[in-house]
Amino acid sequence: MKLWEGKREKRDFWAAMVFLLPNFLGFIAFTVGPVLLSLYMSFTNWSMKKSIPLEWVGFRNYIDLLSDGEFWFYFYNTCYFMLGVPFAVCGSLLLANILVDQMRIKVDRTRNKLAMLTAVVGFITCAFLWIGGSQDAALFAGIVYLAAFFGILFGTTTYRTMFYIPSFAAGVATMILWMQIFNPESGLLNNLLYYLFPAGTELPTWLQSTDNLLGFLPLPAHFNSSGFGFGAREAIIFMGFWGAIGGNNMILYIASISNIPDSYYEAADIDGAGSVAKFWHITVPSVAPTTFFILIMAVIGGLQGGFQMAKIMTNGGPIGTTTTLAYYIYSSGFSELKLGFASAVAWIMFIIVFGATLTQWKYGNRQSEA
């Protein structure tokens, strides 16, 4: 096996090795080792219980798993949660396309005047609302006016930060927050819906409901038209959408769009292209490598996701409708202590993701030859 031909390729090969080395060493030590170990363990009855000796069980874990209806149902759940991804990604791209520019009014005096005007009008509106009796309405109006005020003064910095806020706060606190919001009786969302819809409309019970948009009821899975509606899964998708639209994908797209050479747009200007045409024919193709990255990470992250959510918000329920594969791994590996079995689940997931990624790879991975 020859790794290079000729002097030049030899030089390139060793140069590449030098660049790769720092990352590769850590990669081997902290990732490849554990990965191989977990592969080995998926063929054993590895358990955290000291009383059970380690035994090689061949493919038994895999057979148990694939013949088990639960696994496929949780797999279906996991895929269901990913239905929101395409919308969130498109939303992020559109947002990024706006927020990549500074959005500041160029003339200092005009800007300051506008900001002062917004502040004064906002203050008066809020004061009226506050005296008029609704403190919360005053609060909401206040937020909108404040956002406008800071938006005029600081441009995109304000909006980027506001959209990214869900990502800072992500974690336990946010999930508890959403549990309160989704509460059927005392939650913010249903109380809002109560005002929007005529009296007597049955409101969704969100995290306590097995209803879903496809009408499939859980274990044993079957179609039932009365199961049609908004339930726990939709609630989780909604929460995910809130966090994702202005989150990491938006930042990635902003970075990617800001990296498009200005000359492309200037050339389009000369041709008289409008902003929609420029977006469609320059921005979208130019960010293709980033889109490729985002989609791959979305599939990887989506199939592995939902662990923290299930642990804190729903415990996988109701009736398993929010149990994702990641939570299944957690509950079989760390609650029931069947680590060998959990490893097998992980490897089945790996095969699925790997297949999906290779397909994406075939269509999306092109080196820029410009």
Binding site: P34, A147, T157, R160, S258, S368
Partner: protein
């Protein structure tokens, strides 16, 4: 385009973005309001507390003791924040460095088996991290990194994610740049330092934001690694508000508010560098 039409367009853009941003902001406002509420109001629907006070903040910062028991909370919020910043900063510096070097080898240099090795990198990301935790923990035990800063930093410093992301950014740079530099006699190191790194700046900044944020609030790995109060990071510390008897939501929200301040500051500083026109467009600009 006439000036009028342009003004209307700008106005509409501001208008909708402002409304949308405010809508995204509402749950966060709820969080802020909860942080100012007394415990008996937490379950209530009103945003503005009937009795607003900053007691929750003072409690978690240990400025005042608990009114009932007269004891100070047994926590050290500022220490958690310091630990999180310390760990996240180190990981960010190391990870951006190693990832950009590896990404360069995967995107700009041609060598045999390059794509195969890269697919291997990708593949490791597809195995749920949960099952890797125990083997990784055993490695940490055997090299004595458990319960140390090194144990929190070193394993996180090498990332397939960062390598993949920066590779995608580097693929967007025309290959003709390297070729031109090579004709001028530049070495690979010079190409990396003088051409690729400056042109990937948005990617590097983005990765830095993600890495810092991700490690500041990483829960799983520190949960396994940390035993001592002294090296507790923010997410581990915040768990103490979720007791088995009752969770103190209002204290959790107040503590969370304080803990995300460093993140917001970091983000505002970093995102300023994500602006158009970093790429000089084929070097043809005057």
């Amino acid at each position: 385009m006439t000036t009028n039409w342009r003004a209307i367009k700008t106005f509409l853009k501001f208008f909708f973005i402002t409304l949308f941003a405010s809508a995204i902001f509402v749950p966060f406002i709820w969080m802020i309001c909860t942080a100012f509420k007394p415990a008996n109001e937490v379950e209530m629907l009103n945003f503005i507390p009937h009795v607003a006070s900053s007691d929750n903040f003072k409690l978690v910062l240990k400025i005042i003791p608990n009114a009932l028991s007269g004891k100070y909370l047994n926590i050290d919020l500022l220490k958690w924040i310091f630990n999180s910043i310390f760990v996240a900063s180190w990981v960010t510096v190391l990870q951006v460095t190693t990832s950009s070097l590896a990404a360069f080898a995967f995107s700009r240099i041609r060598w045999k088996f390059r794509d195969q090795v890269f697919v291997m990198y990708l593949a490791t990301m597809m195995i749920p991290g949960l099952v890797l935790t125990i083997p990784q923990f055993q490695i940490m035990v055997s090299i004595g990194f458990v319960n140390t800063y090194a144990g929190l930093i070193i394993p996180m410093a090498f990332s397939a994610f960062g390598t993949f992301m920066l590779r995608q950014f580097m693929l967007g740079i025309p290959l003709s740049y390297d070729e031109a530099a090579e004709i001028d006699g530049a070495s690979w190191m010079q190409i990396y330092l003088d051409i690729i790194l400056p042109l990937t700046k948005p990617g590097l900044i983005t990765l830095a934001i993600f890495t810092f944020l991700g490690n500041y609030r990483n829960l799983m790995w520190p949960l396994v690694m940390i035993k001592d109060e002294a090296i507790k990071t923010v997410p581990i510390g915040l768990l103490s508000f979720q007791g088995s008897y009752h969770s103190q939501t209002e204290l959790l929200m107040a503590a969370t508010m304080i803990c995300i301040i460093p993140l917001i500051v970091m983000f505002i500083i970093m995102q300023k560098k994500l602006v158009r026109g970093i790429n000089l467009g084929g070097g043809v600009k005057e």
